[in-house]
């Protein structure tokens, strides 16, 4: 018979021991009695009768120690008549005997066959001394008591075993209750601790990919255990995994495979481990340990844990299957939702071609499915990032209306995730925005306060890319700590962004097409207006002449002169307008072909300047050219360019002044022509458009013309392989510089430079 520990004495056995002690006291008619059982080399108190603290004051005695120890060691009864003076009696008991007035002491051994299993002690206060009769009586009783104790222990063991089997059966019943894995492992850990009556249990699962054991549930360990990873052969669990068999360790501190961190953090000595094997495959390991006690694990513990592990692994496998099924169902549901969301998004985005409405729609689509706040950022023509549309969930941000408004109109950081996504064309997933993120991107103190109040915790930024161009980005934010974005959210956001980018691109194309139609309408209106002016002159002067003829048949000479000059001028103007309209048509159709001849650009420039000078008295045209600048060019087309530049210079200098025309050859094979006026110039915000079709540089000034001159000029220069650039000197006016390749490999010897007024 083995008593495995005080803590394991069942209630039933305890009751039996108390009753035995009490009956023995009645039998001998004494005032004090006690019972100790042998455990290893100690005698442990298991029952006491009599005054409180008067007997069995010490819980444990070594074999041979004090009177009880002598009885256990010798296996013989002992009578002591002066227990308060007996030198071999423990001093505590001597004092006790004096206090409680015990006069006589009797102890007999309890035996199981030849082995001493305990000591029964009687103490008397009366004058009577214990004698041989008492000894025989008590020995007979002790013989009975030993059998009773044996029976009680057997019963206790049976009871314990049944309780354990019950616990194992309970594990089996979890198979049916499809609980989730985490809860199951938690319960397995707790049940194992109860079952083995230990403080600490750990359940590890085998990570096939990492080839290691990962702790998933534990009791009696700190959180540090969660960080532990054990490879086969490491620690008890690793050794169990390697051997695929149970391991029992009496003192963890002495085993070669002990883990330093465990030895440092945990005071456990005895450890037991069992593999969790499912159809021969390792699924994990369960370990249990005992601290601060002499108890070790025995064969019975090992069998019990093995039985428990066999049941537990089935439950684990079951939970795994459930979890996999739940995951598959959840994934299917998520996929269905994504598809529905994207279908809805596509439908919503297809329902309008209006650019701004489309941007608004995109922002609203993401809320609340994907974001608490969605901002559509667009890249402007000038390369700046602006917030084009903002949408947020209703209600929760109502108190932050002013903050939201500031956000809408506030600056966009060139260093933030948005700028980075637009620059690189790559998505950004920030599951957790770092604490100092806002400090890093805020443009000023106000901006920082705004960003902090909005309390974003997690962010996704996806670029809006269509036809290889990044036009902007979609930024999604979630506030609060409990819903960080994950890669699945990112991929949904990317899908949405792909559709959004297409919609934005379509809306932009539509807007541009509509704009082109508007521009053309406007052009027709301007062209009609421009044509009406010379037509008015032609019609009017014709009528004047006809009127004179029909009145008296005599034409006034002066009137005829004015009329004919005006008609000639008007006709030329009409012819030029018609030519421009034809040129536009040719350029649009790619049908403008150059007729290149060797031409002297100096002569060409002088010819035009002379002709133009005759049309104005307010302006002085000053021409500087080398003697000759030969080039292989289309002379008529270049005439058109120079005429147009001079025409503009005159037109945009309404108050007159000097206009300089300078031709030079800065290097061999290149001719450069500059036309410089000191007129009204071009406002900076309109400069980038002056070469656009139908564009007039100074809209409010009502300068005549169709806005085609510079557009056609540029096309002609570029067809020649040259360039035309405007410059805006700080002292006002405009300087146009045309550079042309002369098209002649060997330049004709440079004649000296001459100045022609």
């Amino acid at each position: 018979m083995v008593i495995e520990g005080r803590s394991r004495l069942g209630a039933r056995l305890r009751e039996t021991l108390s009753r035995i002690t009490e009956e023995a006291a009645h039998l001998l008619d004494v005032e004090g009695a006690g019972l100790r059982l042998v455990e290893g080399d100690e005698l442990v108190r298991v029952a006491a009768y009599g005054p409180e603290g008067g007997v069995m004051a010490r819980e444990r005695l070594h074999l041979g120690e004090s009177l009880s120890g002598q009885v256990a060691a010798s296996g013989r009864p002992l009578i002591v008549d002066t227990p308060d003076a007996e030198p071999t009696h423990d001093p505590v008991y001597r004092a006790q005997a004096q206090v409680h007035g015990f006069r006589s002491w009797l102890g007999v051994p309890l035996r199981d066959h030849e082995r001493v299993i305990g000591v029964l002690v009687m103490q008397s206060r009366t004058e009577r001394r214990f004698g041989p009769t008492d000894v025989r009586l008590l020995e007979a009783f002790a013989g009975q008591a030993a059998v009773a104790i044996e029976n009680a222990q057997l019963f206790e063991r049976e009871y314990e075993r049944r309780r354990q089997l019950e616990a194992v059966r309970e594990v089996t019943s979890w198979l049916a209750s499809a609980t989730d894995l985490a809860t199951l492992l938690e319960r397995i850990s707790r049940t194992a601790a109860d079952l083995l009556a230990v403080e600490s249990v750990a359940v590890y699962l085998w990570d096939e990919a990492g080839a290691m054991l990962v702790p998933r549930a534990w009791h009696g360990f700190g959180d540090w255990l969660g960080e532990l990873r054990l490879r086969p052969g490491e620690g008890v669990a690793g050794t169990v995994a390697q051997r695929r068999a149970g391991v029992v360790v009496d003192d963890y501190r002495t085993v070669p495979f002990a883990q330093p961190i465990v030895r440092e953090r945990d005071v456990a000595r005895a450890v037991i481990g069992e593999p969790l094997l499912y159809e021969g495959e390792l699924r994990g390991v369960i370990t249990a340990s005992i601290r601060n006690e002499e108890r070790t694990f025995g064969e019975q513990d090992r069998q019990l844990l093995s039985l428990f592990a066999a049941q537990a692994v089935i439950a684990i496998e079951h939970a795994h299957l459930h979890e996999a099924r739940d995951l598959a169902l959840a994934e299917a549901e998520a996929a269905r939702r994504r598809a529905a969301f994207l279908a809805e998004a596509s439908a919503a985005l297809a329902s309008s071609l209006d650019y701004d409405a489309t941007l608004d729609r995109i922002a609203r689509l993401a809320v609340p499915t994907l974001a608490d706040l969605c901002t559509v950022f667009m890249l402007t023509e000038g390369g700046e990032i602006r917030r084009a549309a903002v949408a947020h969930v209703e209600g929760i941000r109502a108190d932050l209306a002013a903050v939201m408004e500031r956000y809408r109109t506030g600056p966009v950081s060139p260093y933030g995730n948005v700028a980075s996504a637009i620059r690189t064309g790559q998505s950004v997933l920030r599951e957790q925005l770092p604490n100092d993120y806002f400090e890093a991107v805020a443009q000023d103190a106000d901006d920082l306060e705004t960003l902090r109040k909005l309390d974003w915790r997690s962010a996704i930024v996806v670029p809006l890319r269509a036809r290889g161009e990044t036009a902007g980005a979609l930024a999604l934010f979630r506030s609060g700590p409990d819903r960080p974005y994950d890669p699945a959210d990112l991929s949904l956001a990317e899908e949405l962004a792909g559709r959004a980018a297409l919609a934005v691109d379509n809306a932009r194309l539509y807007r541009e097409a509509r704009h082109a139609v508007q521009v053309r309408d406007e052009f027709l209106s301007v062209a009609a207006h421009e044509l009406k002016t010379p037509v008015t002159t032609l019609l009017g002067f014709s009528q004047v002449l006809i009127g004179q003829l029909s009145q008296d048949g005599v034409l006034d000479e002066r009137t005829v002169g004015r009329a004919v000059r005006a008609v000639e001028h008007g006709s030329r103007r009409m012819s030029r307008l018609v030519a421009q309209i034809l040129d536009i048509s040719r350029l649009d159709g790619g049908r403008l072909v150059l007729d290149r001849q060797i031409t002297d650009l100096s002569a060409l420039v002088h010819g035009i300047a002379t002709a133009m000078q005759s049309t104005t008295r307010r302006h002085g045209l000053l021409v500087r050219t080398p003697d000759r600048v030969p080039a292989l060019v289309d002379a008529l087309r270049l005439e058109q360019v120079v005429t147009n530049l001079l025409d503009n210079a005159i037109k945009y200098s309404p108050t007159g002044g000097q206009i300089r025309i300078e031709l030079e050859q800065p290097s061999r094979g290149v001719a450069r022509l500059a036309v410089v006026d000191h007129g009204v110039g071009i406002e900076p915000e309109r400069r980038q458009h002056i070469f656009d079709r139908f564009y007039q540089a100074r809209e409010g000034d009502h300068v005549s013309g169709m806005g085609l001159g510079l557009y056609i000029s540029r096309q002609i220069v570029e067809l020649h392989g040259g360039s035309i650039e405007p410059e805006f000197p700080s002292d006002g006016g405009t300087r146009f510089v045309v550079e042309l390749p002369t098209g002649l490999a060997e330049g004709v010897p440079d004649g000296g430079r001459g100045v022609t007024p």
Partner: protein, 122 residues
């Protein structure tokens, strides 16, 4: 003896200016011309027109601005007839509360009848 009515022609196109001058001078009016609104305001004090024929789109100062400044002058303004090549000549005339309008191109008869209606010889 009747005094010839005085007409101020404000028009940026030199040929049209000359045409109107020829027609109205031939019909006995006293004609003053100006190439833009600012030039017209400079001569209006001396010319004391009975009628202004006004083009709208002109450089330096356009018809809208001229009408505003002309009417702000202390002496009572003469009627203004708008001369325009715009598609919606009537709308342009209404914009400055003009007394009449004539679209370009125009017939001599229309011009003469409109002028005589607004500026009879005194």
């Amino acid at each position: 003896m009747t005094r010839a009515a005085r007409i101020l022609v404000v028009e940026d196109d030199e040929n049209i200016r000359e045409l109107v001058d020829v027609i109205l001078s031939g019909a006995g009016y006293e004609v003053t011309t100006a190439p833009d609104g600012a030039a017209a305001l400079r001569v209006v004090g001396n010319a004391r027109p009975d009628l202004v024929l006004l083009d709208m789109r002109m450089p330096i100062m356009d018809g809208w601005e001229f009408a505003r400044q002309y009417r702000a002058r202390p002496e009572p303004p003469a009627p203004i007839v708008v001369l325009t090549a715009a598609r919606d000549a009537a709308a342009r005339a209404a914009e400055i509360h003009a007394d009449g309008f004539l679209g370009k191109p125009f017939d001599i008869e229309s011009l003469l009848s409109l002028v005589s209606q607004h500026a009879p010889h005194a």
